[in-house]
């Protein structure tokens, strides 16, 4: 009889990195479906290229670097999908390809692979695309569905009366903001779909409520204090998508709940400030990235009292 010897625990929880990533993908299904419904097949192509590029780049890099190939953990799929959802449907297909390659190779793998990147790969890739090709990245189109055009014909210039819905949220009804009948990136427009994904992740325990709720709540509160419309501020731009799917990235936010609260409040303040000063049409990407950078510091400065001890360890 050949018995295996190992230390306990001898049974582990069923959850693995792969199942967690799968749950995020499931949570992104409503948003993905809404994006494709609203923007048509162009959106589907952008998403497909983003995901394929992310997975292929990860595979090639890990092969070349002689690391174990871990594409089956699905984290590259999540990165690619989130990046794709952050792009305009009219983006040329080289944009998602380059973006995903940057996210995976530069931001993730060169920093040591999964878990070692200090910035969210999809976010930084979006930030880099935004800075490199601002004209292609910050011009948003009205969903083709709204214009009554079902083919993938590029929307005419009159469809883009402003760069983003954010600059004129007063121009849209709350219903349209919720349903996604506004210009924006593929994933950010349909708030209902994002909320369904959020509830799914809460229900299966993928994420906790703190970061999204406090992030969005801070934006609402600050906007109200500064005389804006909190509801429209919450429903405009990439705030909900960012708060639910990007600020909650485990790797790049603090470990302790108290740290996550600080992180979320920081994100909320930065978004409001960037939006108010109109330095960029949309502040969510840079706000989260800045708080990603602050995460090691927050982790260092927060602690909790260990059982049986009196003094806090700083």
């Amino acid at each position: 009889m050949n018995l295996r010897l190992s230390t306990g625990p001898h049974y582990l929880h069923r959850e693995s990195t792969q199942t967690l990533m799968l749950d995020v993908i499931i949570a992104l299904v409503p948003t993905t479906a809404a994006g494709i419904y609203l923007f048509g097949s162009k959106a589907a192509w952008v998403l497909a290229v983003a995901v394929a590029s992310a997975v292929i780049c990860e595979y090639i890099f890990q092969k070349l670097a002689k690391r174990p190939v871990r594409i089956m953990d699905l984290s590259a799929v999540v990165t690619g999908l989130i990046l794709g959802l952050n792009l305009p449907a009219e983006a040329p297909l080289w944009l998602p390809a380059v973006g995903s390659a940057f996210a995976i190779i530069i931001v993730k793998e060169l920093f040591g692979g999964i878990g070692h990147n200090f910035l969210n790969p999809a976010l930084l890739a979006r930030g880099v695309l935004l800075a490199s090709w601002p004209a292609r990245m910050s011009v948003y189109f009205m969903p083709t569905r709204v214009l009554g055009i079902t083919s993938a014909v590029p929307a005419g210039p009159d469809a883009v009366s402003s760069a983003t819905a954010l600059l004129r949220p007063q121009g849209y009804e709350v219903y349209d903001l919720l349903m996604g009948n506004i210009p924006g990136t593929i994933g950010e427009v349909c708030k209902i779909a994002i909320l369904i994904g959020f509830l799914y992740m809460l229900f299966v325990g993928t994420i906790k409520w703190h970061i999204p709720v406090i992030f969005v709540g801070t934006v609402a509160l600050m906007t109200w204090l500064l005389g804006g419309d909190p509801l429209k501020a919450v429903l405009s731009g990439g705030l909900l998508f960012g708060a639910v799917f990007m600020a909650t990235d485990y790797v790049t936010n603090p470990m302790l709940t108290i740290g996550q609260i600080i992180f979320a409040v920081g994100c909320g303040i930065l978004v409001t400030v960037i939006r108010m000063t109109k330095a960029y049409p949309e502040g969510v990407t840079y706000a989260i990235l800045l708080m990603n950078i602050a995460t090691p510091l927050i982790d260092k400065m927060t602690s909790r009292r260990v059982y049986g001890t009196v003094k806090k360890h700083a």
């Binding site: 295996r4 625990p9 959850e15």
Partner: protein, 438 residues
């Protein structure tokens, strides 16, 4: 209201903690043909064998005497001839000194010296009787019970907790004991309370054993100072520090013992053994052990100390399929057995057989900082950070972050989606820190 503590997990929730198979199986007694009794079962110096090959012994006869302050004697668990006094590989790291006895089939006891009823026996005689009976903590720690019952003069104990939480997966031995023999547990509780001059005795049981709550409440009714509390089903509820927090809201100070916060904790099985020692004069020669997993008839066995795993498994009907791993205890902290010749010690509350498929160890991947280990830690440590420090060899840093407080419950390893061996690393680091005096 269900008492509880912060942190912790609910392991194998989808399998009812793995307890279904053996739950409510009546206790069956197993008297084996041969036993191999370790003399180093308890915490403290191993006992000194006083028999040699060829000696005839009766059940309950002392075969090894206590050594040192923490020492307790060891007794023959079957009657017959001593067939070997030697060293043999058991569950410990190194081979253990054992005394092997082959049965004469008589199961004849030595003359017993009961003290009498727990309510009337002189309180000052109880502790010596407990020591002479070779009783140590039957929950798994095997700390000598008489030592726990004799705290230093400056430690004032006001509460005794009798631990019936049985939070470990797969085990149902304590549960069945509470169902079948609640009187023994309550008698033992009263004996301990009287010996330690403590007015409050609390029997703590998790809410997945409400039938045991009822039997224990009935048995405790009318008994002075004894009450039953219900705990939330959560792991590691039965770990001393967490149990004390849940029941009394107190915390054992860092580096201290339960007596430093006025509490002493005893397992229900230990309490029952104390009752036997006082009322019947019987030393600890048997205990209840759950045998479950891939065996034909998962059971709760009353086994003699020194029964081999093979005998216990055969008594439970044998394997249902080829075993891949066998461990002593529950799946969270159980110790894997190298073979089935190892024997049941006083600490051994369960034998769990896994098949080949469930024995596969998943290889670890990278930490994704999900924070599940932090939520799981019942001691409020930061396992993620500690693992980083341990991997980097920074033992001083780990110590500064209270790694020595880790209770090795394994909750962090259980929840880790990257399958990192967190608690195993911490145990290794703690051993190194102790050995090198970092």
């Amino acid at each position: 209201m269900r008492l509880s503590f912060k942190g912790g997990i609910h392991p194998l929730k989808e399998l009812h903690e793995g307890k279904d198979k053996s739950m409510h199986k009546p206790i069956k007694e197993l008297v084996p043909e041969k036993v191999a009794i370790q003399v180093d079962m308890h915490v403290g110096a191993p006992s000194q064998p006083i028999v040699k090959k060829g000696d005839q012994v009766k059940v309950g006869q002392v075969i090894a005497t206590a050594v040192g302050n923490l020492g307790i004697p060891v007794h023959a668990s079957i009657s017959g001839a001593v067939t070997a006094v030697t060293n043999r590989q058991m569950l410990g790291k190194k081979a253990s000194a054992i005394i092997e006895i082959t049965s004469d089939g008589q199961d004849e006891w030595v003359e017993l010296h009961p003290l009498g009823d727990v309510e009337t026996v002189p309180a000052d005689k109880i502790i010596q009787q407990v020591k002479d009976a070779g009783i140590c903590g039957l929950g798994g720690a095997c700390f000598p019970t008489h030592v726990k019952m004799s705290p230093a003069d400056d430690k004032k104990i006001d509460t005794i907790i009798i631990n019936g939480s049985e939070c470990e997966t797969f085990l149902t031995a304590d549960h069945q004991l509470m169902l079948e023999e609640p009187e023994r547990i309550v008698n033992g509780t009263r004996a301990i309370m009287r010996a330690m001059n403590v007015k409050t005795g609390v029997i703590a049981i998790e809410d997945n054993k409400m039938d045991a709550v009822k039997t224990m409440t009935d048995a405790a009714s009318g008994r002075e100072g004894v009450s039953v509390v219900v705990l939330k089903t959560k792991y590691p509820q039965g770990s001393e520090k967490n149990l004390i927090k849940a029941v009394t809201k107190r915390e054992v100070p860092s580096g201290g013992l339960p007596c430093d916060c006025g509490v002493a904790v005893f397992n229900v099985g230990t309490a029952a053994a104390v009752a036997d020692a006082i009322m019947e004069g019987k030393p600890l020669v048997k205990r209840i052990t759950t045998v479950t997993g891939c065996v034909k008839e998962p059971s709760n066995l009353k086994v003699r100390i020194g029964t081999s795993f093979q005998d216990a498994i055969d008594f439970a009907g044998g394997f249902t399929e080829e075993p891949g791993k066998i461990f002593a205890g529950g799946s969270m902290t159980g110790i894997a057995a190298p073979n089935t010749d190892v024997c049941i010690s006083k600490a051994n509350n369960g034998i769990v057989v896994l098949n080949k498929k469930d024995s596969v160890v998943k290889s670890p991947t990278g930490c994704i900082r999900c924070g599940r280990c932090i939520d799981a830690c019942p001691i409020m440590l930061n396992p993620q950070k500690l693992k980083e420090l341990c991997d980097a060899g920074d033992l001083a840093g780990a110590k500064k972050r209270y790694i020595m407080e880790c209770c090795a419950c394994g909750a962090c390893s259980y929840v880790c989606p990257a399958k990192l061996e967190l608690s195993a690393s911490f145990k290794e680091a703690k051993d190194k820190i102790t050995a090198r005096g970092v």
